[in-house]
């Protein structure tokens, strides 16, 4: 059999690999021959066959196995060829361990070995600098975090008006009166007398520091208790979270079957419990019953199982052909019935009766049932549902009206009829007017909304009419909005389409109505404007007349009104002369007389001369202060024919002169450099604009301008040190921190090489980078 097999195999081999390499073909028959000649046993044959198969399979494609050269001792020694058995396999570690017989004790070791092997090789360590850098970074972050708690302190100190060193713990500035009193005793006779009096009158001399209630509350909970309490709470929270996790897991299960089973189980359980309850505790059972009743109500309200759902509808379609679907439907219906079943709260004796009733009820339709129940007892919910039916009927009648209403564009359903009638009255009115208006229709249409042209008499007439109308409309609008809106349509229609379309104004849409209303109002306004426009110029004239009267009294107003003050006026205006009670004596001394004489002469020559001189002087001053243009013309440049290029660089126009509007004043615009030398010329740090800084230096701090106290406060030194005292560095305790902050800082400083898991992460990140 083995030969036969081998023959077959050889044949198949030949047929398969007819085109393969010649050498191998040459080899194999040899092998085959050899094996044939040597082997007698089945074992050998089988093995060879195996080998052959392997050889064949290895022949195809790239996987072709090279026949290994013999290099070591092998079980199989052939004189023709080196056998490759065992050489192709990789030596596995486990193989070394493998004893002759397999033993279970070594399995664990093997597992461990395999685990070791599955791990990747250890990466190269980072170089020293990089590691140090990472360490530094980590240490910096940590230190920064630790030190950041000092930020508020630093900020406070920086903003503090005054710092006093050495730092001392702040004592409570004002001790409570009770403290003071407790350590104080009446010594002088007066004090004793007073205290006696107080005691006699039972005045409270020293209140207790704390009320007993406060003390008790302070003592109420010890540390251990608090810890226990916290532990309990933690446990409870953990349990809760476990339970929640479980519930969530279960909820996630999608298997319908599972859920069905669970539900059924639950139902069974509930039933069992209910039975038990009924025996043990009838009151509780009653409550349970109520729950079931509630489920019934829910079902009745939602009608979840009454073939109304999406699923049910699809099933209904299928039910014709599909038995299963039909069954499902029936199941659902039965479920519905089951749920809507009225449960009878009855004693055991009545139970059987109730059963019969149930059957009866099952037969009767639901609606009838309800009515019956109404008869049984008044239930407002049921009552309402009954009336709703009648309402539905009413609404079914409505739709006939509805389209009409919608055409009106008004959402209100009722009370529409009356306004319609009113509209008709108005309509007639309008028609009457229309005949009047027809003449000026065209011009009105063409007239733009904002135009303020003078209108001919016809259009004005129209406008006046419109105004009347709009007023009417407004009144109506106030009285009833709806009416007004419906009326608003009419003028619109008449205005824009004088043709027969106005018979059906009701068809107009609502937004258009609003528009027309607005338009009408606008028109009315326009009218008003026009009316107002006439008197305005008169008013203006009055104002302009009035302003000059104010002039001498209000120089500022005058300045606004008129840019330039008339210098002539300023100096030559006749001022009222003073009526002095005492007139100076006429006879005067010689020099006075002489001066008077001179004065007379000067008066005679005084006049425009002075003013002209002054104006000239001013003009010169203005010219002198103006920035000068720079002329860059060079002789010979730009003198070619054509338009000569200008080499004039125009100076930028400076700010307007302060005396621009003051004709009788020349204000020197030159900068006082001596005074400027005393001014601040560099903005100090936090300020970005000089206005900000100016605000801080506007208040004088000298004692000339301030009270003594204010002066002292304004000039307090920023830092005060007590002479002869050592100023220690600030400590955490000084500012109300725990002292631990220092220790954890020192930990980092001591062994910065220690790396926590977080640091490792960072390290990894860095190495990736």
């Amino acid at each position: 059999m083995g030969i036969l097999h081998s023959h077959f195999s050889v044949a198949s081999f030949n047929s398969l690999l007819a085109l393969s390499q010649q050498e191998e073909l040459a080899d194999l028959p040899k092998d085959y021959l050899l094996s044939e000649s040597e082997d007698e046993g089945d074992n050998d044959g089988e093995r060879k066959h195996q080998k052959l198969l392997e050889a064949i399979s290895s022949l195809d494609g790239k996987n072709r196995r090279k026949l290994a050269e013999r290099s070591e001792a092998s079980l199989k020694v052939s004189e023709f060829n080196v056998s490759s058995e065992g050489s192709g396999e990789k030596l596995v570690l486990a193989d070394l361990l493998e004893p002759v017989k397999t033993s279970s004790s070594l399995a664990t070791v093997k597992k461990q070995l395999s685990r070791v092997k599955s791990k990747k090789t250890v990466e190269l360590p980072l170089n020293k600098e990089e590691i140090e850098r990472i360490h530094r970074e980590v240490a910096f972050n940590k230190t920064a975090q630790v030190l950041s708690k000092w930020d508020p302190v630093v900020l406070k100190n920086r903003q503090a008006e005054q710092l006093v060193f050495p730092l001392e713990k702040e004592e409570p500035a004002i001790a409570p009166i009770e403290h003071v009193l407790s350590g104080w005793k009446a010594r002088t006779p007066l004090e004793q007398e007073i205290f006696n009096l107080l005691h006699k009158n039972k005045q409270p001399v020293a209140d207790p520091l704390l009320t007993p209630v406060e003390k008790a509350s302070l003592r109420a909970m010890s540390l251990e208790e608090a810890k226990m309490r916290r532990g309990e709470l933690q446990r409870a929270r953990a349990l809760q979270s476990y339970y929640e996790a479980k519930a969530r897991r279960e909820k996630k299960i999608k298997s319908k079957k599972y859920h069905k089973v669970v539900k059924k189980g639950k139902a069974k359980k509930a039933l069992k419990e209910f039975e038990q309850l009924r025996k043990v505790n009838p009151a509780a059972a009653l409550e349970e019953l109520e729950k079931i009743e509630k489920a019934r109500m829910m079902e009745r309200m939602s009608l979840k199982h009454q073939n109304s759902g999406k699923w049910a509808k699809s099933k209904a379609i299928m039910a014709k052909y599909d038995l299963e679907a039909r069954q499902a439907m029936q199941e659902q219906l039965s479920k519905n019935k089951e749920l809507t079943q009225k449960l009878q709260v009855a004693s055991e004796s009545e139970e059987e009766e109730g059963g019969t009733e149930d059957v009866e009820e099952l037969l009767v339709p639901d609606v009838v049932n309800e009515v019956q129940m109404n008869a049984d007892g008044p239930n407002p919910w049921m009552l309402r549902s009954c009336t709703s039916d009648t309402k539905e009927a009413a609404t079914q009648e409505d739709p006939e009206q509805l389209p009409e209403l919608e055409a009106h564009g008004v959402s209100e359903s009722e009370g529409e009829e009356r306004p319609v009638a009113e509209e008709e009255i108005l309509l007639r009115e309008f028609e009457e007017r229309r005949s009047l208006r027809k003449i000026s229709e065209l011009s009105q249409d063409a007239e733009p909304a904002g135009s303020q042209e003078t209108k001919d008499s016809g259009s004005q007439e129209v406008l006046s009419e419109l105004r009347v109308l709009s007023q009417k409309l407004k009144e109506n609008h106030q009285s009833r909005k709806q009416k007004a809106s419906s009326e608003g349509t009419i003028p619109q229609v008449q205005r824009e389409e004088p043709a027969p379309e106005e018979e059906e104004p009701l068809l107009l849409q609502r937004p258009e109505r609003v528009q027309t209303l607005e338009e009408l109002e606008e028109l009315g306004k326009e009218e008003c404007f026009q009316n107002k426009e006439l008197p305005r110029p008169v008013l203006e004239g009055q104002q302009s007349e009035r302003t000059p009267n104010n002039r001498p009294d209000a120089p500022k107003e005058k300045k606004k009104k008129e840019q330039m003050i008339d210098l002539q006026n300023l100096l030559t205006t006749q001022s009222p002369s003073v009526k002095s009670l005492a007139v100076p004596t006429v006879e005067e001394l010689e020099d006075e007389e002489e001066r008077n004489h001179r004065q007379m002469i000067k008066e005679a020559f005084a006049g425009d001369d002075v003013i002209r001189d002054f104006l000239k002087e001013k003009r010169e001053a203005v010219e002198a202060s103006k920035p000068k243009d720079v002329d860059l013309t060079l002789p010979g440049w730009g003198e070619a024919p054509g338009s000569p290029p200008s080499f004039l660089i125009k100076a930028p126009e400076g700010p307007p002169r302060k005396d621009k509007n003051l004709p009788n004043v020349i204000i020197n615009e030159k900068r006082n450099i001596h005074a400027a030398a005393h001014q601040v010329r560099v903005l100090p740090y936090p300020f970005t604009h000089h206005w900000q800084f100016e605000r801080t230096i506007q208040t004088p701090i000298g004692s000339t301008w301030n009270t003594q106290r204010a002066f002292q406060k304004l000039t307090t030194p920023k830092v005060v040190t007590k002479p002869g005292h050592i100023i220690n560095p600030i400590k955490a305790e000084d500012v109300g921190y725990r002292s631990s902050s220092r220790s954890d800082l020192s930990v980092i400083q001591r062994n910065p090489k220690r790396i926590t898991t977080r640091h490792k992460k960072q390290l990894k990140k860095c190495s990736v980078d």
């Binding site: 005045q203 120089p555 005084a606 001014q679 936090p686």
Partner: protein, 610 residues
Amino acid sequence: METAPKPGKDVPPKKDKLQTKRKKPRRYWEEETVPTTAGASPGPPRNKKNRELRPQRPKNAHILKKSRISKKPQVPKKPREWKNPESQRGLSGAQDPFPGPAPVPVEVVQKFCRIDKSRKLPHSKAKTRSRLEVAEAEEEETSIKAARSELLLAEEPGFLEGEDGEDTAKICQADIVEAVDIASAAKHFDLNLRQFGPYRLNYSRTGRHLAFGGRRGHVAALDWVTKKLMCEINVMEVVRDIRFLHSEALLAVAQNRWLHIYDNQGIELHCIRRCDRVTRLEFLPFHFLLATASETGFLTYLDVSVGKIVAALNARAGRLDVMSQNPYNAVIHLGHSNGTVSLWSPAMKEPLAKILCHRGGVRAVAVDSTGTYMATSGLDHQLKIFDLRGTYQPLSTRTLPHGAGHLAFSQRGLLVAGMGDIVNIWAGQGKASPPSLEQPYLTHRLSGPVHGLQFCPFEDVLGVGHTGGITSMLVPGAGEPNFDGLESNPYRSRKQRQEWEVKALLEKVPAELICLDPRALAEVDVISLEQGKKEQIERLGYDPQAKAPFQPKPKQKGRSSTASLVKRKRKVMDEEHRDKVRQSLQQQHHKEAKAKPTGARPSALDRFVR
């Protein structure tokens, strides 16, 4: 503005009960009508004055902005206080009827506020804002403290009040003297010195001493209250003007040729030959500068603390014989013959401002103590009051029958004008208002034409120098009733004067700081600031304060693509650009709007113009 209470001044009651109404300070023993025990009953306020000082319930301490100032004097509400009696009860169980700090009237506080809050600040950083807040809080605190200390200004100015319809100008000096008490009546006196011709006079800063010099060489100084003569000499030369220096111990006399300085014994200390032919003298007390105007047309500033001439300015307007100082900013006002008044500071070679006041020459100039008003009189017989707060426009004008040759303002704003042998005094409505020239407040006729006028500081007295000597007349309401005991104390001893002298010298203000706006020192030199900035930019090659260009923040979830970054950048750029355009458009509009009114409004009559 600190004010110290008067240490030992007994109130000189100058007026009588009929015509003068001076409120007497109420003494504690005078309150007979009221139950004596104070604090026992939280009763309603007793009199009106008390009610004004009504303390309010202390509001939240955090809102200290307005809480400490009461807008209106409020009456405390009893029921509110009874609500929590525990909190306010002391050991004795008695309640503070007026809890919290006393409120201060807003107007008084406003007077001491110096920060100009009308200017809107640009947006500032948190740090800057905190600094500004501190500054504002400080200002408020100090101004409140100053307002509280106003309580110490116990004296009130007196005034004349005519009986219904009576013109106060008709009240003559004899009436007043008859009505007031003896001490005040003694302040009215006449010195008949007909020999040495028209007199110039000057009161010392404290108002205690009077120096006068006659044209014909008579120079004297005296304590005019006690009439104790300090010195009397004849310099045997024409005396044009006389003036006390910083204290009554030194006296500057402008003589025919040179300027001489004497001490209070009449010993000549200096003869300053660089100031020659001086016509008028002014002393700037805070700068220790003696300003002299000369016939040669020079305005010379002499620093009397070091004896150096600080500046000699050529006014280029001929002879200078009209000069006065602005006590507010120490600017010298010179009147010229061409009708202008020029304002001078030693730091500038040119006048700070020139105001055309009169068509004729200017005869007299005076500036009031607040530096707000300037009164000028010219050869055109007009008396004008100008507003010096930037506009330099006349507020009121009056033509006087003969024109005023001399003008002077009192501390409380009364204006006196000497016209021939008449002096007219005008008073304003309040302290800050200009004197109204409608009705004279007082008039007085002298025995000769007026040659010198000055109100005595801290006294209701006007000193007039004329050809017949010196007249000291009573002008109720002229002087400041409260004086600063540390600054100018009329009752100071010699030691106190020496102390003050040292302090004043230490606080001497440099002459360069004289300018029109004395608060300019509290401003930043913007031009140098900008220049410094420009230089820094040049030096560094970039603007360190420039706004950093917009850098879009990286966003998550793939929204940080290059395209979107660019888009975002573009958006911001466009927005900025739009802002710029908008601004420029607005400016254009403004310009146009401004340009329009300058053109004459088209009138209906234009059509007839050919």
